[in-house]
């Protein structure tokens, strides 16, 4: 590998790109890093246009990391286009970067207006109307994602049905290293209750939950963050949105704290997603709860290593115990008035 010339500042590179793509548009404004880990970044910015600023998002991997990520972001752009063509609400992809653009690898898409903060979506009066149909919106959005013809999907997408995902979760538990009897019991339960992998794998979004759903008073405006998309069991997505950790106090409303299983399943089937198997969804709910619990447990090491020594990071580590209660509710439910030791 040859050494690359250092990047020009991102704002300059974007301005250059803007002039070439949209000669009628002017300067870059409001460039701001939103989030992202070490390998992928999300930036908000606008091109100034005659009718006002055009709000956009840049998802990119700085070029030094290209080899780690091979087709990651290009595949993500491709999936967004396919989902859009299939009627799912997703941001419109405007442009996929090329090496000549000097912005790294990635793509530019529309920046949607709306809210992703769960407590606002679940409590603010502005979303009261949306809350009555968000569970159905989720069912419909997932059906449109899962209906995409698998032969049209990018061939770099990894195949990860339940058997592969469970092997990954076992490795994650072993790597975290902190002994957790409830998590161990849940891993055993998952192994004993794992449904057969489906004959035909479908596109699974992989992270369909609060934070990745742009929501307005009118409902879901866009499904974001396709980084974890894979070929798998579509029931995985239905289970993940029902994990108790995304209910934010609204524990009797399993779908994201805003709706019921029945609403989600009915809308999914009505939109052509196919028959829902509630037992399979339940498997994925337990799987998802444990997956989040292990992510929390993993925070202790990130905190200790100094990679992120913030109090916030440490406190997420101490949320693993919330997941223990949720897992026990699934696999060892209390009976009313049960005596308990201790």
């Amino acid at each position: 590998m040859t050494l690359e010339a250092p990047h020009p500042p991102l704002a300059d590179a974007l301005a250059h790109l803007g002039k070439r793509l949209y000669p009628s548009l002017g300067a870059v404004s409001g460039l701001q890093r939103l989030s992202g880990g070490a390998s992928q970044e999300t930036w908000a910015f606008s091109f100034e246009g005659p009718g006002g600023p055009v709000p956009l998002i840049l998802r990119r991997a700085p070029s030094a990391r290209v080899s780690d990520l091979a087709a990651g972001l290009e595949a993500e752009a491709e999936l967004l286009k396919l989902a859009h063509a299939n009627g799912a609400r997703v941001p419109n992809v405007r442009y996929v970067l090329t090496p000549a653009d000097n912005c790294g690898r990635g793509f530019i898409m529309d920046r949607l207006e709306g809210e992703t903060i769960p407590r606002k979506i679940l409590r603010d009066a502005a979303f009261a109307g949306a809350r009555t149909h968000l569970a159905r919106d989720c069912g419909e959005a997932l059906a449109r994602i899962h209906r995409i013809e698998p032969s049209r999907l990018p061939d770099t997408l990894r195949a990860a049905p339940g058997s592969v995902r469970l092997a990954e979760l076992n490795r994650t538990y072993a790597n975290v290293g902190h002994p957790n009897p409830v998590f161990a019991l849940a891993l055993r339960w998952l192994a004993e209750n794992m449904p057969k992998d489906p004959k035909e794998l479908r596109l699974v979004h992989g992270d369909f939950r609060h934070g990745n759903l742009m929501i307005g008073p009118d409902g879901i405006r866009g499904v974001l963050d396709w980084e974890l998309a894979h070929l798998g069991d579509p029931m995985e997505d239905l289970g993940w949105i029902c994990v108790p950790s995304w209910r934010f106090g609204e524990i009797e409303k399993p779908v994201g704290g805003f709706g019921t299983h029945e609403e989600l399943f009915a809308a999914y089937e009505a939109a052509g997603g196919g028959a829902v198997d509630p037992a399979r969804v339940r498997f994925w709910e337990v799987f998802g709860a444990l997956q989040w619990g292990l992510m929390c447990s993993g925070m202790a090491e990130i905190f200790r290593s100094g990679a992120d020594g913030s109090v916030e990071r440490a406190m997420i580590g101490r949320r693993a115990s919330e997941v223990e209660i949720d897992l026990l509710d699934y696999i060892a439910p209390l009976t009313q008035g049960a005596a308990h030791a201790g």
Binding site: V182, F183, I251, R304, V311, S321, A332, Q336
Partner: protein, 126 residues
Amino acid sequence: MQDEPSAAEMLPAVARFLRDTVTTDHSAHTIFQARVAANAVDLAAREAQLTPRLNEEERVRLMKLLGHDGDLATQNRILADKLLDGSLSLATPGMKEHLWATSMAKLAVDQPSYASYRRALKRMQG
């Protein structure tokens, strides 16, 4: 046995935040982090107050379940390994009660306002 990181590990991060960030940066993000830091201090206080008794109760339960005594980390490692390989299970007498009691003890320190914890407390009290 409480999860990680321990309050003892967390408090220096709170001190660092108070000393280095709060005094120089008053952005919305710092205000949010200040709330998190206050929660961490509350957690540390609960840990100091409750953990000695909760750990002792857990040690006694584990001794009954496993048939031998030991430090909590080792005992929990053994229990977790046996639950994973199936040699112990929910069919083991006392297991379900032990797991609930231990998770509830963690929540009493970590997040006593968690809705599923409140619901379980009510159910246990009948």
